[in-house]
Subunit: 525 residues, 2 copies
Amino acid sequence: MLHTHLCVMGDPCWKMNIHNKMKQMKRGHAQSNQNGIGTLESGSSTRIFDKLQATIQNIINARANASSDIAVCQFSNDYYKLDQSNKHRILTLLATKYGVNRTNIQNLSQQYSDLCKAEKETKEEKNTPALYRTEHSLRSALTPLSVQLFKQINCQPGGLKFLVDMRADLRMLIEDQNLPAFRYLDTCLKEILETALSPALLELHLFTWEDPAAILEKLVIFEAVHPISNLYDLKRRLGSERRCFGYFHPSLPGEPLIFIEVALTRSIVGCIQDVLRNESPTPEDEATTALFYSISSTQPGLTGISLGKLLIKRVVGVLQQEMPKIMTFATLSPIPGFMSWLLPRLASESQSFSSSRMQQDSERKSLFKENLLHAQEARSLLESCRTSFLMGTCRTAENQTAENIMWNILTFPRKELIRSESLQGVIKPILLRLCARYLLLEKRRGKALDVVTNFHVQNGALIERLNWMGDFSERGLNQSAGITVNYCYRLDKIEENIGNYLEKGIISSSSMLKDLLEPKSMSPG
Amino acid sequence: MLHTHLCVMGDPCWKMNIHNKMKQMKRGHAQSNQNGIGTLESGSSTRIFDKLQATIQNIINARANASSDIAVCQFSNDYYKLDQSNKHRILTLLATKYGVNRTNIQNLSQQYSDLCKAEKETKEEKNTPALYRTEHSLRSALTPLSVQLFKQINCQPGGLKFLVDMRADLRMLIEDQNLPAFRYLDTCLKEILETALSPALLELHLFTWEDPAAILEKLVIFEAVHPISNLYDLKRRLGSERRCFGYFHPSLPGEPLIFIEVALTRSIVGCIQDVLRNESPTPEDEATTALFYSISSTQPGLTGISLGKLLIKRVVGVLQQEMPKIMTFATLSPIPGFMSWLLPRLASESQSFSSSRMQQDSERKSLFKENLLHAQEARSLLESCRTSFLMGTCRTAENQTAENIMWNILTFPRKELIRSESLQGVIKPILLRLCARYLLLEKRRGKALDVVTNFHVQNGALIERLNWMGDFSERGLNQSAGITVNYCYRLDKIEENIGNYLEKGIISSSSMLKDLLEPKSMSPG
């Protein structure tokens, strides 16, 4: 019943209420179905659980038969009525009782091995049909029974939406209990959704202030990068010099699956607060740059199914057509992983330094030290510590390492030290260099460690610019010491950039980034 | 280029040309793509084949990466340009080189068996995560590489249509060479199509004379039951007292996937020629019966994916809403398998009779004899042979068995004897009884042997009536000795009928059918 309790958008209480509801709705979104039927009290929920258990068994018994149409509808209606704990019980049932038959798989595996051996010995191909048959049976045996249910649900009107909601519940369950059985079910469900979604059917929508509040509300709820603070903020983001595009899918009516916010500007803007406040807007006919400053997906049930790439590609095409003057397509992006990458490394270097000092074991020190800071950087940090009010923050300045000082600066309450003007001369070049290193060089399994970087670079963007104090919101300071990054989509370079990234692991970047990484004026310590 | 060569429907040559083109188009339909690019001469086709081979390798190497978008588009464009033999070469390549890795499957099977054994011995569940991991790997290993390609194609605009066309080619290839590798590829492709098609997205369309000729042409081409003989026949089928509904899918624009033809009548009509000629039409406001007289699917690439059930259900709903006077929903259906079931049985009984006579081995005779004909039926057939002009058709009347006489009647040139008035008194009751037996009792794997029966009965219909000379077209006489059948959808009995059929193998029928099967006036021989 969450939706119906929300005030109408014109309502004066709308602004106040919306944030209180947000978190609740994000988590509970999958709970309320389209008909507004909410969850029931626990006793009733348990009774429905018992009924559902029987329904599942009937559907699985009947397989792809006509008789189960009504049962399938009943299943989804009843599922929506369950409370969270009974939903989890149903999902557990599907993942375990209606999983795979291990004895069956084992027998078929044995059979397969025997056939392969026989074929090798006789050197004949007479077993080929039997091999294919066994492969077919083995593949069926490895498909959980519950997948039959999912496929039948997908055939019903509203079925795809139901599967998306059910997967959202499953993802939540996995967050609580990361069991292999749940992960296996999730993989199977994701496979079905990937195929059923048919991205070719996605419909591009330009959000405007004329859209129904019921739809615009979703933007407020699901804006993941820069929260929409009030009604006027929302209106501004849909106004002139702005575009907000999203994808709808005919199988999930009324639900934007993903949306992107664009500012039309004269140049690549680096500060998100400038964009959000929009105090000196560029007249649309003077805009030469489309700045993508936020992209958010709405369906946790579609996790891992990438729609962002398609959306950016499509929006670039639409803007090119509509406004031929726009030649630059860039993002203004957060760097969500910078601080959580940097801080533990600073801490561990401080520690290894002090322990190595105690042990007088300089060999060991150099072995573990990552050399995060260059010698000159370290010197200037130590210098600033002696001369500035940082003295107060360090217990015994003499025992301090440069890493320790940096750690103190970054973790100082309310990030006051990062923002302090007197320290900027020292810390700004160091943090920009470390950030360039983090974005360009830090990888996991060959891919950029930063998820946003990986997303844009594998779509063909290059890293254009880092911006000091590009996001001085609390979130921006916490995530990335206030640094933001512009990725740039140079249309003639996209394929080349993708190729370099995927084949050689090279992240394309402008000369600014390269200069930050290897400053000409500074030799490594 | 087939489409563009067709004359426009108003054209005087349209009527003459249409049938010559029909067969060609049905077979070649998948060859011409939406852009009207036809196939090329063989040399050029081979060059494109070589290029395609490289494209496939690139796509498979790149996996789900952005770089392959262009390659995927190129693949489908180029595939459409190939001639049939090069298409078959590409499909063979996909089925074999890009199939599964057997060594990989074998190793994983071995690993799985070992894990299961270890788990049994230790009686601990510590291997569970490893078991799930191996199941996951095994499932991936059993998915052919080509499925990666198919899934990427499905993401492109027009991709689903391409997969449907490619599967149509594959089905044709299987008709020529029924190899296990092709069947395995077909199963995988069918699975993707089943999920991607999302039946919930099907759009019901009422065909009218206002529809574009390009769409109505498809009805002419794909009408599988009662060929549309000319422009006026088509117009009549779309006119008043008639409805023609079809399903479109947003992923296959301009292609009716399946369509059904309905006559609005006063009662359940038994003779298809009456329906097609429509000489005394029922005024629409007097109609009480919706008679479904033809249902045809258009896409060989969707073989095995049932849309007919959904269509009938939907059309019944629409008609109920539009015309509340209509209370009876019935079909007028062919019995495609009756003669091909009956004739070999008659032939084999004649043979076993004559051989047993030669051997004087009456034991053996009774063992093999199916007792197709009751004693009284046999007597009346032998009698009619002696008294009628059938004498001339039997070489030595004394050696004839009743089965032999029946066989002669049914296979007489131009089916003149079935139609002869003098014989009807004898053969009509016999053939109606045998037809009732064929429809109600003959099964394969628990399902009705007749495909049309199986289709309607598993949708919940019952067998209402058999009609002597219900279809005296050449096709009707050949398929079913001119007998037609009415299946009836009694809306309050549908679930019960389905249950009886699927659970107990019982085909529901009216008392007329039961009487035919066990005539009260006749005791079995």
